[in-house]
């Protein structure tokens, strides 16, 4: 992990890192999970994919992650994709129960043939960023749900990826833990300037976190509308209780209902 962080540039000045153009995904020749999806991801963006379940949010992430290929359309990385460009966090912490916290975070490097000692500093730093530097030698079962999720996040950012994909990472956590992790995620992003695509079905979460919200509709899965969240960072508890936040939530909520309405 680099010790000099990327700086988040203002919206207009962010270079493109990934583009989805007219992406379709059809399963078993019948389920249209995604239709004509266009999305440009710029460096430093925090993009939320917001939509009801079944609208193809996970499918979009899996396509970007390269776990499957589009039926039609293209996904292109500016400058090509390299190892370590991508970090992933699933809804489950998805840790290896037989490995310690540090060894779990080592995984992306280990699979690239890097020894533990060689990337020790990066692992320490990633754990420090999520506030778990004291738990290096703990096993996952000794950690709470929120802490496991933090390990999962540390593993995703240990290689300083250009893009981090998060698929409803906090959906299974309680409200208090979720708020805390939302705050911490923004702090982390301010520090290291990472680019995030964040899947959620919570309007509040998407407004609080992102600078762009992509509202999606189901059957067939598609982009309904894109909203810019025009509120400055850093955002904390003040923002959560502000009138701006309430207005933005209303707007996003309206767009979501519209998206669900024309699906019905």
């Amino acid at each position: 992990m680099a010790t000099t962080w990327r700086k988040i540039k203002p919206m207009g000045a962010r270079p493109e890192i990934l583009r989805m153009a007219g992406v379709n995904k059809v399963f078993n020749g019948q389920t249209v999970a995604l239709q004509g999806m266009n999305l440009t991801v710029n460096e430093g963006d925090f993009i939320s994919l917001l939509g009801p379940s079944g609208c193809g949010k996970s499918t979009a992430l899996r396509l970007i992650a390269g776990l499957m290929h589009p039926t039609a359309g293209a996904i292109t990385w500016a400058g090509g994709q390299e190892a370590g460009d991508l970090g992933v966090v699933f809804q489950e912490p998805t840790l290896m129960p037989w490995a310690t916290v540090a060894h779990n975070v080592w995984l992306p490097y280990r699979l690239r043939g890097k020894s533990f000692v060689a990337v020790r500093d990066q692992i320490r730093l990633a754990l420090k960023l999520v506030g778990l530097e004291a738990f290096e030698d703990a096993y996952p079962r000794e950690l709470s749900g929120g802490m496991k999720m933090r390990v999962s996040i540390a593993r995703a950012l240990v290689t300083s990826p250009r893009l981090i994909l998060m698929d409803e990472p906090f959906a299974a956590l309680d409200e208090i833990t979720r708020h805390k992790l939302n705050n911490d995620l923004l702090e982390l992003r301010a520090k290291i300037g990472c680019t995030v695509i964040f899947v959620t079905h919570s309007v509040f979460e998407s407004v609080f976190l992102s600078d762009r919200i992509v509202v999606m509709a189901a059957r067939p899965g598609r982009v309904h509308r894109e909203l810019a969240v025009d509120a400055p960072y850093p955002r904390g508890e003040d923002f959560r209780t502000s009138a701006d936040y309430a207005a933005l939530c209303r707007e996003a909520s309206g767009a979501l209902h519209q998206a669900m309405g024309d699906a019905a």
């Binding site: 390269g66 992933v88 998805t94 995984l107 280990r110 699979l111 690239r112 996952p140 079962r141």
Partner: protein, 282 residues
């Protein structure tokens, strides 16, 4: 109750639970020892009260005496049986894990050869053993082969199950991070399979002893290099019932020791992380 009142550290419910835990801990050892002791005592009394002659049912005291008196013969036999058992178990582990990995890596190999494994498993070893002893010249290798046949299947089937049970999200993660097939096997599938393998190993440990004993019954007279089963047969022909019992006791004890050893191994390997080895407080 005022705020200054000290909060009792152990309320009634907690005390009850602590007591229950302690009783549990002691009972785990005491009860088996007690029931086995009582059973032996009962056995002794039945023999004495009914004046059963020792060539029909020897009492526990006589069996113990025989065990000491015939120790030289029985111990040699025990070593032979133990050797066959452990070698068969070792070969079963190598063969079972090796085949499981092969089947896991190649679906065609699995489709082609899994039926053979099943056929070998479902055919009773007593019915195959006579054939084996016709074709295999070396008695030791014949015994080993029989014991292996009985023991390898639980390892194969459990390890296969374990290799396939790796968390699917972790599989995805390994793919995203560009893991090779070998890395996925080494870092994901084998650790996932470990608890399953150890479960199979515990079953196989008992089975390889059964295999070693049963096949020796089938192999019959052996003279030099004979195991416990042969000693039981021999003692039976001579109506030396106390020695039959002594040999039987040794076989049972061996089985218990093997099971305990493998259980300990399993605990040592899993206690840090696996559900099966975790203690729940409540």
């Amino acid at each position: 109750m005022s705020i200054a009142d000290p909060i009792p550290l152990l309320d009634a419910e907690e005390q009850k639970r602590a007591r229950a835990r302690q009783i549990d801990r002691i009972g785990r050892w005491l009860l088996p020892v007690l029931t086995i002791g009582l059973a032996i005592l009962l056995w002794d009394r039945v023999v004495v009260w009914n004046e059963i002659p020792h060539y029909i049912l020897p009492g526990p005291g006589l069996v113990a005496q025989t065990l000491i008196k015939d120790w030289a013969i029985l111990f040699d036999a025990l070593l032979v049986t133990l050797q066959i058992t452990l070698m068969a178990l070792a070969v079963a582990v190598a063969g079972g894990v090796g085949l499981a990995v092969l089947f896991n890596q190649s679906r065609f190999a699995e489709m082609s050869f899994y039926p053979f494994a099943v056929i070998l498993q479902v055919t009773p070893v007593v019915s195959v053993a006579p054939l084996i002893f016709i074709y295999v010249e070396n008695r030791m290798i014949g015994l080993l082969l029989c014991a292996w046949l009985v023991a390898f299947f639980p390892i194969l089937s459990n390890t296969t199950l374990g290799l396939n049970s790796a968390d699917h999200n972790l599989r995805d993660l390994f793919r995203i991070y560009g893991a090779t097939r070998w890395q996925r096997l080494r870092y994901l599938q084998l650790p996932s399979a470990l608890p399953y393998f150890l479960g199979g190993l515990r079953i196989a440990g008992g089975l390889s002893l059964i295999g070693a004993v049963v096949s020796e019954y089938v192999a019959g007279t052996g003279g030099i290099g004979s195991g416990l089963a042969f000693r039981i047969l021999e003692a039976g022909y001579r109506l030396n019932i106390p020695r039959m019992f002594a040999a039987l006791a040794l076989i049972a004890a061996t089985g218990v020791v093997i099971f305990a050893g493998l259980s300990f191994l399993s605990h040592a390997l899993l206690h840090k992380w696996h559900e099966s080895a975790l203690k729940r407080e409540i």
